[in-house]
């Protein structure tokens, strides 16, 4: 996957860079040509798209395939059911409280306020997916950037940044999140912010590790020789090659984000009434299930399924992308 893209423009700025072991050689090189890019690539066989290969292997892994299908089904449910259902998520009917499975036209029954559980569940999936995705992406952006910078520069910068990282990651995250949520107003954006504030450390560490490994490779050396600025090297050369790790970490982080949302709902810091999320439905279910089991069983099953799906997909992705990938 190594690709050193060179254009005529880059030859213009030659910069000596230093600070990284083995990079002193940069000064010894000088671009000699040819000027035309296509003639270089034309000599090779057509590149096989890496991601195409990943996709094929993923689909052939039976467990992962089933999970993928299930995920698609759930996403479709989350999007369409609240739109087409005759009940809205907040419609209450006190004469229809606590109904069970398939009673009176309610597929999963009703909760104690007479609200249809099925539509609330699908809406809840929507909310949980959004929260999880947003939380993970925010922590990715910040974590990857942090790790990339730390790994690339090394030395003092890396030292300081890593120490800060350690200190932050030692603070019990659950406690910090609870405290933060007590200070800020509860709601979807606050949950995302809180998760991002404590969840980025894992990503940062991972990316830093990879960048440390990769920056001694020749293509990076070549980029630097050609005078690429640090941000360009990080963005164009290093980070794209960490994508596989980032992707695996992303997939594995989503269950954690959903679980945290569930835990926060349990502590009363979840989404606003009358919205529902998987976590808030499970929490409400715990309080009422001794009278009407389905209020706990249905959301729990869906919650567990979502977690399971993402875990399995993550596992399969990891196996495919790099079998020797171990956890630090």
């Amino acid at each position: 996957m190594a690709s050193a893209t060179m254009t005529a423009a880059q030859t213009a700025d030659v910069q000596a860079t230093s600070g990284v072991a083995g990079m002193d050689d940069a000064k010894l090189f000088e671009w000699v040509g040819p000027e035309d890019e296509s003639s270089i690539n034309g000599a090779h066989a057509p590149k096989r798209n890496f991601w195409h290969g990943v996709w094929t292997r993923l689909v052939h892994d039976r467990a992962a395939f089933v999970c993928l299908i299930a995920l698609v089904v759930m996403i479709l449910m989350a999007i369409f059911v609240p739109m087409v259902s005759p009940y809205s998520i907040s419609d209450q009917d006190f004469t229809q409280c606590n109904l069970g499975f398939m009673e009176n036209g309610h597929i999963f029954g009703t909760d104690k306020l007479g609200r249809d559980l099925f539509v609330r569940l699908c809406f809840g999936m929507r909310v949980s997916f959004i929260i999880a995705l947003a939380a993970v992406i925010v922590s990715l952006v910040f974590g990857a950037a942090y790790g990339g910078i730390s790994g690339y520069f090394g030395g003092m910068v890396d030292n300081v940044m890593m120490r800060v990282l350690e200190v932050i990651s030692c603070i019990p995250s659950m406690i910090m999140v609870i405290l933060l949520l007590m200070v800020l107003k509860p709601g979807v954006s606050t949950i995302i912010l809180a998760y991002a504030l404590v969840g980025w450390t894992g990503m940062a560490r991972l990316v830093r590790g990879e960048v440390l490994k990769l920056k001694t490779r020749e293509y990076v050396l070549a980029s630097r020789v050609l005078g690429a600025s640090p941000s360009r090297v990080i963005l164009r050369d290093l980070l794209p090659n960490t994508v596989s790790i980032i992707l695996v970490e992303l997939t594995m982080c989503i269950p954690g984000a959903i679980l945290m949302e569930g835990f926060l709902s349990y502590c009363g810091l979840g989404v606003q009434i009358p919205l529902s999320s998987l976590g808030s439905l499970v929490t409400d279910g715990i309080k009422d299930f001794q009278g009407n089991p389905i209020v706990l069983i249905a959301p729990s099953i869906f919650l567990c399924l979502v977690m399971f799906i993402f875990n399995t997909l993550g596992d399969s992705l990891r196996d495919i992308l790099d079998p020797t990938l171990g956890r630090q």
């Binding site: 990284v20 072991a21 090394g154 030395g155 890396d158 120490r163 350690e166 200190v167 030692c170 603070i171 019990p172 659950m174 406690i175 609870i178 405290l179 933060l180 007590m182 200070v183 440390l212 269950p255 679980l259 569930g262 835990f263 349990y266 502590c267 499970v282 929490t283 715990i286 299930f289 001794q290 706990l296 729990s300 919650l303 567990c304 399924l305 977690m307 399971f308 875990n311 399995t312 020797t324 171990g326 956890r327 630090q328």
Partner: protein, 320 residues
């Protein structure tokens, strides 16, 4: 090597200092005046109460005083439970939490390692399937769901049945003290950790088994048993140690819910109480306490790691 120890110790102290400071200031940002009662207080009454607890000083003075106290091991007095020292209350609560955590780890670690090892050695067999199932369940089911369901079905329904038929309750539903009471809470707390341990053990074992030196050993003709014992196991222990830190942390934080559902008077329940009543001192004290525990645990893990992995000793200083 001493340099390594000193360095890690220094970072631990730094972490703790940051933790204490952040906690203190967050506490003061928390909305909610702990002395607000059901009836509004007149200003003079309020002033008297504030003076009593030293809350009329400017924030930085309170901070300095607090730091000073903490260094002497005094975490302040609870604002709600007038006169109770937070340190005393935590010391009274900690044995319960520690007991719970230790017992669940004693359950989770050996069981997890056993299942993981057997699963790795006999791939595709029943052990492997068990491992898979437990791992899947462990990562999917949140502890509070598991706790609520088990407490009801085992602690109430099943136990009523055993009481009626066999004259005793199989699973007590609350409290702490007898071994029987410990079963459900420890199992639930240990369960999610179990999944993680099994997964780690299994993958670590598999990774080591695929290494060249194992193949060499096999080629040399060493017996299976010797290979497993002397080479595979020793080398796979490393990753287990690395997750010990987070494991202990997860046991401690996971205990919040278990303690409240099973009514165990531990530090988790204590801290939740502090949060609910806006009792700054209690919340800050518990947070710091947890922080000290976790930082301490990580430090010990680092020391262990240093003993096990010579690379750390040799190459740490040269880390780029």
């Amino acid at each position: 090597m001493l340099k390594y120890i000193a360095k890690r110790f220094g970072y631990s102290i730094l972490t703790l200092w940051v933790l204490i400071t952040v906690t203190f200031f967050l506490m003061h940002l928390l909305p909610g005046d702990p002395f607000v009662g059901d009836k509004p207080l007149s200003d003079s009454v309020k002033a008297a109460i504030y003076a009593r607890y030293g809350l009329d000083q400017p924030v930085y003075i309170q901070y300095l005083r607090y730091m000073q106290n903490v260094l002497h091991g005094d975490l302040g007095s609870s604002l709600i439970y007038s006169g109770q020292s937070v340190t005393n209350m935590i010391s009274a609560a900690f044995p319960y939490s520690a007991d719970l955590a230790l017992r669940s780890l004693t359950f989770a670690i050996p069981t997890g390692m056993l299942i993981g090892i057997m699963a790795a050695l006999h791939r595709g067999g029943p052990w492997d399937t068990t491992a898979l199932v437990i791992t899947a369940l462990g990562v999917s089911i949140p502890s509070f769901v598991l706790a609520s369901i088990l407490q009801y079905y085992l602690g109430v329904v099943f136990s009523s049945w055993t009481l009626a038929n066999w004259g005793f309750r199989a699973f007590p539903i609350s409290g702490w003290g007898t071994p029987q009471q410990a079963i459900l809470p420890c199992f639930i707390l240990g369960f999610s950790n179990l999944a993680e341990i099994i997964r780690m053990t299994r993958s670590s074992l598999l990774e080591v088994s695929g290494q060249d030196y194992i193949r060499t050993a096999k080629a040399k003709g060493l017996s299976e048993r010797k290979i497993v014992w002397r080479h595979i196991l020793r080398n796979s222990l490393c990753p287990i140690i690395t997750i010990l830190g987070p494991l202990i942390a997860s046991c401690l934080t996971g205990s919040f819910i278990i303690e409240s559902i099973f009514n165990i008077p531990g530090v988790g329940k204590f801290m939740i109480m502090g949060v609910e009543t806006s009792d700054y001192m209690v919340t800050a004290g518990s947070t710091i306490f947890y922080g000290v525990l976790i930082v301490g645990a990580n430090f010990i893990v680092d020391m262990l790691y240093m003993v096990i992995d010579p690379n750390i000793r040799l190459y740490d200083d040269k880390e780029a």
